[in-house]
Symmetry: C2
Amino acid sequence: MHARDLVSGFPTVTADTPAVEAARLLAERDLPGLIVLDGDGLPLCVLPGTQVLRLAVPRYCQDDPALARVIDEDQADAFVRGLGARTVGECLPEQPRELPITDPDATLLEVAALMARTKSPLVAVVDGDRLLGAITLKALLNRALPA
Amino acid sequence: MHARDLVSGFPTVTADTPAVEAARLLAERDLPGLIVLDGDGLPLCVLPGTQVLRLAVPRYCQDDPALARVIDEDQADAFVRGLGARTVGECLPEQPRELPITDPDATLLEVAALMARTKSPLVAVVDGDRLLGAITLKALLNRALPA
């Protein structure tokens, strides 16, 4: 079995997508992350869901948990407003050493090794110059585990 | 709104749970991770799903993607057998600086800041000496996003 047998369509965004729209996509479709496409329709990166939160949460609250506690409840409830008019481009992590992207010929073991190495529960599958979709940890385990 | 209003029951394992059982739980229930309890029923850590793969994938394949490719397809399909009789205890990450664990009084902002800081889409909620359950990124965003 190869990546091409496991891949399925997966929502994509671009660097220009509003961050709040990305957050909504993550929540409504219960996704482990999002594929961010570049201008050529190829994955620029795979964005973990928690990375979108980094834009919404003021920097000083991320650095010091005690400071998050002193914000009053109404303001705390509305933290997502912090996303404002910001875009996915502003959530992109500093370029990691290796992206969770593979080709259709990768075996199950290769996909698993890539997920383990990049700590990404989502691997994008690219065939030359075209995104085929993604493989999630759930899809991989469902296929690999004995019935 | 506080963590106590968002928390819900969440599957737990212990260090003695077979790794293959943990993998099945992750896949069947599409979980972002698992809460690992200690002998007192308190969270020892929150285990990301990809961490379980690290046990199944031979070390040399994780280190060198080219080596994963030379394993033949049948063997690659069966990589999950690598979990063998191993346990969750063997998947535990080296102790991270901060665990994604909070108390029932945490505000939405505090939970979001904790997820962002620990990069964990899953936060365990502990009331004194009792695990109440967990808050997922999905649950947090569903509640925080404007309708």
